[in-house]
């Protein structure tokens, strides 16, 4: 009974948000003289119409599943880990180190090591903020934003001065400037893509599609996160501390320890967000390594109403929009930026809708509390 009602509320906010942003998108397109119906037709038709396009959506969704799950864990703990952004970058860099630094390992060992390095790097980057939070009461939003900026600069320095790949073949007959990137990952550190799997069911994916087994790892992780939060004693403690700290303390739950664990767990998951690009698409960490998976992860988690299953839906939606934006630009002349606006409006309205629903639930709750 109560489970059903909760589900109903969970679905309302995202739907409201998606509907509202489609509306706003239409207004904008009308304003610039484009036909919104056509644009939306292309948006959906193009992205969902072809199998390679769907595979591309899956590739784009993969990192967001991880960053979204990282946000879910932190939100459930009542912490706002904005640092997922910096954490996944440091994580990806650490993973790159393990990827090119270790040689001669079989893939079955090398790949897990690279992934572990990604998680460890991100956890390292989260250690200071949570330490400051517990010991000094520094709000995690402030400290993690700061850590994000430090990450950008720190990685830049590491790339340009310390780990720059000096073996790369330079353009212009050897006189061009080198790309600011690490050496390439060993072949044993590359995550296999899903080409063979698709081929087994008779679908030939083109070579420029990079969707990999990380997608399945992400989905499996969503299940694990769901279990951790709702079924394990640790998740129980996490929810108790987040929802009533004093009562949790009275029950003998060490809230500081729970918070540290949850924050590091969030970071460890974040550390996997950059690996899809690193281990399949690029094969090295470079100065143009994709940014903002962390911030999009916040939106995905909100869109998914803070549930692990919702994150997968949200990530796929974002992947679809990103893919559709390419098509819309090519085929209708509507700039891809409009889709970005659509995305942003969706994030904003999700936050607003979420707030409205939460307030509604809160007033309901107030009424429900018996005297």
């Amino acid at each position: 009974m109560f489970r059903k009602r909760r589900l109903g509320l969970q679905v309302t906010a995202p739907l409201m948000a998606v509907g509202f942003s489609v509306l706003v998108g239409s207004v904008i397109m009308l304003a610039i003289g484009a036909n919104p119906l056509q644009a939306y037709a292309v948006l959906f038709g193009f992205s969902l119409g072809r199998i390679d396009s769907i595979a591309s959506i899956l590739f784009k969704a993969t990192p967001l599943i991880f960053s979204g799950l990282a946000m879910v864990v932190s939100f459930r703990m009542g912490l706002f880990n904005i640092g997922v952004e910096g954490q996944y970058m440091v994580g990806a860099f650490a993973a790159a180190l393990a990827g090119f630094g270790l040689k001669g390992l079989p893939a079955i060992i090398h790949i897990p090591i690279v992934m572990a390095a990604g998680m460890a790097g991100a956890m390292l980057w989260a250690a200071l903020p949570i330490y400051l939070k517990i010991k000094r009461g520094v709000h995690e939003v402030i400290s993690t934003i700061m850590m994000n900026y430090i990450a950008y600069s720190f990685l830049h320095w590491l790339l340009a001065d310390v780990f720059l790949d000096r073996t790369q073949v330079l353009g212009q007959g050897g006189f061009g400037s080198p790309r600011v990137r690490t050496p390439e990952l060993a072949a044993s550190a590359r995550m296999p893509t899903l080409h063979k799997l698709f081929a087994a069911v008779g679908i030939q994916l083109p070579h420029y599609i990079y969707v990999s087994y990380l997608l399945f790892i992400g989905i499996a992780l969503a299940v694990v996160v769901h279990y951790i939060i709702w079924k394990t004693p640790f998740g129980y403690e996490l929810r108790a501390v987040a929802q009533n700290g004093p009562a949790a303390a009275a029950a003998g739950i060490n809230s500081e320890r729970v918070m540290v664990k949850a924050f590091l767990l969030s970071a460890a998951i974040a550390g996997l967000a950059g690996l899809s690009d690193l281990m399949t698409f690029f094969g090295y960490y470079d100065i143009d390594f994709p940014r903002s998976y962390g911030f999009n992860g916040i939106a995905v988690a909100l869109l998914g109403r803070n549930s692990a299953a919702g994150v997968i839906v949200g990530a796929l939606l974002f992947g679809m929009l990103a893919r559709g934006a390419e098509g819309v630009q090519v085929m209708t002349g509507v700039p891809a930026e409009v889709i970005t606006i659509l995305q942003s409006v969706m994030i904003l309205s999700i936050v607003v809708a979420y707030e409205i629903i939460t307030r509604y639930v809160r007033t309901q709750r107030k009424k429900e509390v018996g005297a």
Partner: protein, 543 residues
């Protein structure tokens, strides 16, 4: 004045109000009593516009009204005094009262006019309160007065008080009742909900009994007795006598040795409650002396014994209990449980030694309101081996355990998966008591264990505490209900300003004897203190 006609309210799986018809007359004090979960609060929330009835109608002075929200209720002259005070501690009494209903002149709050009005109201109904005092320095009883004034200031003719005496000390109840009588004499109509039937008989003109969402009957308070009311509520005779076996004290299981708890910052509840003595405006609560909340307190509770702490709320009881569990640091002294020094040890470790904790404030310390009922029933024992299987919480086992507790403690609920906040107040309290006593603890710290419970449930919990004692366990009982302390305890200590200022064996302790000590008048702390032996005689006590 107001008539409720066939009002029905359903919640998922529960018929909270079942065709309730009820008439409240102008100028009367109308009490509503009933078991926990009988539907009293729900009915009041309907009157105050917080819930909409599924069926039925409400008539105010003969006119049908639709109360679609609290704002509408206020406009109709209906006011509700909330049990959880909604006051801003840093504002003065006056500011709190006029908040949201300021009279302004030229866009500036007209303090003088408001103050005049508040003073008039206070004078008219005999509220002793200083409008300029900061709310943070007020005692519980005084804060409640502010709440009532707030409602009056908004022009209420019908006042709803849902369990107003649950948080009050006996003297404060007396003062509240004096206020209520003046209000009724002044033409106000009052609906009063309470579980203490003596109080109900004392204050009410008429009493309506609810049982399982239905009206059992309405009668004049003079025509009925406590026993009669209880029987109507529960549907069977209720024992008001507790059979107490002789006490056979064993070894000390809990000893507090010169314990000091600074209490700075304190808890939200403890904060600023001052050290109020009823409502008498003694210097104790006015000047907030920089004194430790618990000030070198020593006491011992033996196995097979109930040690009761009597005292006015705000004299360090909260801090004492929180100090025992290291929820506030013990600044000096020693806490020994089962012979082991647990001073400032991690709470989990203290509790693992077999010590149960029934907190005074169930919403703050006892429950995680949004979590489900079954989850709340294992809070603190959620890591016990029987509840965890292959690293996951064993839902089936836990539900089995929860169902057993539910039956044993008669917790009225429709769905174990519902959040615990969907339970009625008394049933929430049962969840805590059931959970804490289920672990067969060696030591029980029970703060206001029967607060909000109906007569039957309170009787059951008291019986359970006595069983614990008879089984050789140690019980430390802290209660604002002096009668409860006196009837259950084998020894009684009076707590005043962070110290036990006097200790009596149960047979000698009477309200008359204890009263002066509770007010701090009888014995300056330096004077010789009568200390009782831990030796008990059997006896029968009235509750």
């Amino acid at each position: 004045m107001i008539s409720i006609k066939g009002v029905t309210k359903r919640f998922p799986g529960v018929l909270a109000n079942d065709h309730i018809s009820l008439e409240v007359r102008e100028g009367e004090i109308h009490a509503i009593v009933g078991e926990n979960g009988a539907g009293k609060s729900t009915l009041m929330k309907i009157l105050y516009g917080l819930y909409q009835p599924d069926e039925g109608s409400i008539e105010l002075r003969g006119h049908p009204v639709r109360i679609d929200g609290p704002a509408r209720a206020v406009a109709l002259g209906i006011g509700m005094v909330h049990q959880h005070f909604m006051l801003i501690p840093r504002f003065t009494v006056l500011e709190n009262i006029i908040l949201g209903h300021e009279t302004a002149r030229f866009g500036v709050i007209d303090r003088r006019a408001s103050e005049q009005r508040v003073k008039e109201l206070a004078g008219q109904y005999g509220f002793a309160i200083d409008p300029k005092a900061m709310v943070a320095t007020l005692s519980v009883g005084q804060q409640q007065r502010v709440e009532i004034l707030k409602v009056l200031y908004r022009g209420a003719d019908l006042l709803i008080l849902d369990e107003p005496t649950a948080v009050l000390a006996p003297q404060e109840v007396t003062e509240l009742f004096a206020n209520l009588r003046l209000l009724a004499a002044g033409g106000k109509t009052i609906i009063f909900i309470g579980h203490k039937l003596d109080e109900v008989m004392e204050i009410a003109d008429r009493v309506t009994v609810l049982r399982r969402g239905q009206v059992v009957g309405t009668m004049a308070a003079g025509e009925t007795s406590r026993e009669g009311l209880a029987e109507m509520m529960v549907g069977r005779p209720v024992l008001f006598r507790i059979q107490k076996n002789p006490c056979h004290p064993g070894a000390p299981l809990l000893s507090l040795d010169d314990v000091t708890v600074a209490g700075v910052g304190g808890t939200a509840r403890g904060h600023g409650r001052g050290h109020g003595v009823g409502g008498s405006q003694g210097p104790a609560w006015r000047t907030r002396i920089a004194r430790a909340a618990v000030d070198g307190l020593s006491l011992q509770v033996n196995g097979g014994e109930i040690y009761g702490i009597a005292g006015v709320e705000g004299n360090g009881q909260t801090e004492l209990v929180e100090g025992i569990f290291n929820l506030q640091p013990v600044t000096s002294g020693r806490v020994m449980v089962l012979g082991k020094d647990v001073t400032n040890r991690p709470t989990a470790q203290i509790r693992a030694g077999g010590i149960a904790y029934i907190p005074e404030d169930r919403h703050r310390r006892g429950l995680v309101l949004p979590m489900s009922i079954w989850e709340n029933l294992i809070l603190g024992s959620h890591r016990r081996r029987e509840f965890v299987r292959r690293a996951l919480l064993d839902r089936d086992r836990i539900l089995g355990h929860a169902t057993k507790l539910r039956e044993q403690y008669d917790i009225r609920l429709a769905d174990m998966d519902a959040p615990v906040l969907a339970l009625s107040g008394g049933n929430q309290q049962k969840v805590i008591v059931a959970r804490e006593l289920a672990q067969s603890p060696q030591v029980v710290i029970a703060s206001q264990p029967t607060r909000g419970l109906d007569v039957g449930a309170a009787e059951f919990v008291r019986q359970r505490l006595l069983e614990m004692r008879d089984a050789g366990r140690a019980v430390l009982l802290i209660s604002a209900d002096l009668e409860e302390v006196l009837s259950l305890s084998d020894r009684v200590g009076v707590m005043f300003r962070g110290k036990i200022v006097a200790e009596f064996p149960a047979e000698e302790a009477t309200p008359q004897l204890l009263g002066p000590y509770m007010l701090g008048g009888a014995a300056p702390a330096e004077m010789e203190i009568p200390l009782a032996d831990a030796r008990g005689e059997g006896g029968e006590a009235r509750v």
